[in-house]
Amino acid sequence: MKTIKHTSKYKVGSGQGQVHLRVVIGEGQFGSSSVVVGASLFPQVRTFDENIGLPAELNGKLISAISVVTDTNKQTNLTSVTYELSGGPQPFGHSSEVTVDRDGDSVMFIAEIQLEA
């Protein structure tokens, strides 16, 4: 299984609003994501779209998002995962993509995002 890894940092700032994380599996492909934020494991979902905490609580924590995507779309062999964060001083967005070699293959996308003040 192919593995695609992404690492980055995100400034959560010192605001009073919730920090929001979205992990979207694109290209119409079937996949799901496991997300750990600091000490919390969130339930596995197809599209992760949750508030993950206040900036003050999140400072110094690590987001670990692991998505497994299976090529179920007959129209394309492209698979992608998009990570979006908001609630800090600036929004964050990143898409990782890879084409599977054979129809029906699966890919693991790993993202580690370090949260900073």
Binding site: G26, S32, G38, L41, S67, T70, P91, F92, G93, H94
Partner: protein, 429 residues
């Protein structure tokens, strides 16, 4: 082996035919279109492992652990490519299956069965393919190109649920394919060029059992993916088997709960994916496909669409239920050479099915107009009953009336056959 008895209004003819099983069996069923139907599927795309970054506030790095896939030409289905206009000049006329919307109308309109089809997956690949086909002003021979425009660019926001539940308008866009083909006409130092469009939509009408089956297949595949993901979380966070450090206990508990799903292998993931695909394809519903194609002739050394040869349009619609199916088909063909002729072929099939039997009636009516048409408008009607004696042995009986030919009125016919074939066959649908 097939034993057939034919009789006309004045003539009784008995014959024994020994036929290959493939010749004596009906055309295989068209699979029930899923929301993502009939598209080039076996073609590895030409770009891979190219993570793309949207603007963001943080610093980022990506690493792909696997190399890029290489583009590879893929053999086209001969049946798909030759379908469509193959029966236009046949003295036997068209059957319902001949009127089905071809997968690649450009190939059908110029009557080619390409052994390799180029399926570019990015705008750059399309440009390269067109440049190669254009060949500096002259026309390359034996070009076979098929493009799904919507999928030329990534759709990072298009989720699985949005895709499989797409509106009819979006389905038209998702399923649109454009095809082009060329073939040499040596006698005239010319090249025939075909262009085609095709798309289709599916109005899903699944029953509760089918919806449950699909949900179960989705849940199973998701569980397998979760095992892989949570196991990776465990490794990533270096959780020991008895670690009390958060979030390790939650991860270990979740892994324990998932253990009953069994070992996750590549094969298990593939099986789960296939089960999901089958659950989607098995859903009842109304399908509609539409296609159009044009053919021109050009000089070999100077690309110029100077002579219009043919144009054709297809419209197929059908509903498949649990024990019955109805299909209606229309094909319009305009031929400009050597004479100007227009054909409108209308077809319909109604069938009822059980585990061991199939009974269906189908009819085709052709309306011919234009300059001195070689045949008059006429139709063909046939009723067929099939009964499965065993997995390899089928009894079939047909009765009908053929269409008129150039020299005679369509005769009545009856066929009684026992078909033997290696391998299991399903009732025709």
């Amino acid at each position: 082996m097939s034993y057939s008895v034919h009789w006309g209004s004045t003539l009784l003819l008995a014959s024994v035919l020994i036929a290959a099983p493939a010749l004596s069996q009906p055309v295989p069923p068209e699979p029930a279109p899923a929301p993502q139907p009939e598209a080039p599927t076996d073609h590895p795309a030409s770009t891979a492992g190219t993570p793309s970054a949207a603007p963001h506030a943080g610093t980022a790095s990506d690493s792909a652990a696997a190399p890029a896939a290489e583009a590879a030409p893929t053999a086209a289905s001969a049946a798909d490519a030759s379908a469509g206009l193959s029966c236009l000049d046949s003295k036997d006329g068209c059957e319902v299956d001949d009127l089905k919307t071809p997968t690649a109308p450009a190939y059908s309109i110029i009557g080619v069965v390409p052994s390799q089809v180029e399926t570019p997956r990015t705008p750059k690949d399309v440009a390269v393919a067109l440049y190669n086909a254009y060949n500096g002003g002259s026309v390359s021979q034996n070009v076979a190109l098929e493009v799904a425009p919507f999928w030329l660019v990534p759709h990072h926001d298009l989720t699985y649920d949005q895709y499989v539940n797409a509106s009819l308008l979006l389905q038209l866009v998702h399923n649109l394919t454009v095809s082009a083909a060329t073939t040499a006409v040596p006698a005239q130092a010319a090249t025939d060029i075909g262009f085609g469009l095709r798309t289709n939509i599916f109005f899903r009408d699944a029953d509760d059992a089918q919806r449950t089956e699909k949900a179960k297949a989705e849940a199973h595949l998701q569980k397998l993916q979760e095992i892989l993901a949570v196991r990776q979380q465990k490794d990533q966070l270096r959780c020991a088997d008895n670690s009390a450090q958060d979030p390790c206990p939650a991860i270990l508990t979740r892994l324990e709960a998932l253990a009953k799903e069994g070992e996750v292998t590549e094969e298990a993931l593939r099986d789960a994916r296939v089960a999901l695909e089958k659950a989607i394809e098995a859903q009842y519903g109304f399908r509609l496909s539409v296609a159009g194609a044009l053919a021109y002739r050009s000089d070999n050394d100077n690309l110029r669409l100077k002579d219009f040869l043919k144009g054709a349009g297809w419209l197929n619609g059908g509903y498949r239920g649990e024990i019955w199916e109805v299909t209606g088909l229309v094909r319009f063909t305009a031929v400009d050479a050597p004479e100007i002729l227009q054909y409108v072929d209308l077809g319909a099939r109604v069938g009822g099915f059980g585990d061991r039997y199939g009974v269906y009636a189908e009819g085709v009516y052709r309306v011919v107009s234009g300059d001195d048409p070689p045949v008059k408008s006429s139709g063909r009607l046939v009723g067929t009953f099939e009964y499965k004696l065993s997995n390899q042995l089928w009894l079939s009986a047909s009765y009908g009336k053929d269409n008129d030919s150039e020299v005679s009125k369509g005769a009545q016919f009856a066929l009684l056959g026992v078909n033997f074939q290696v391998g299991e066959r399903q009732v025709k649908r």
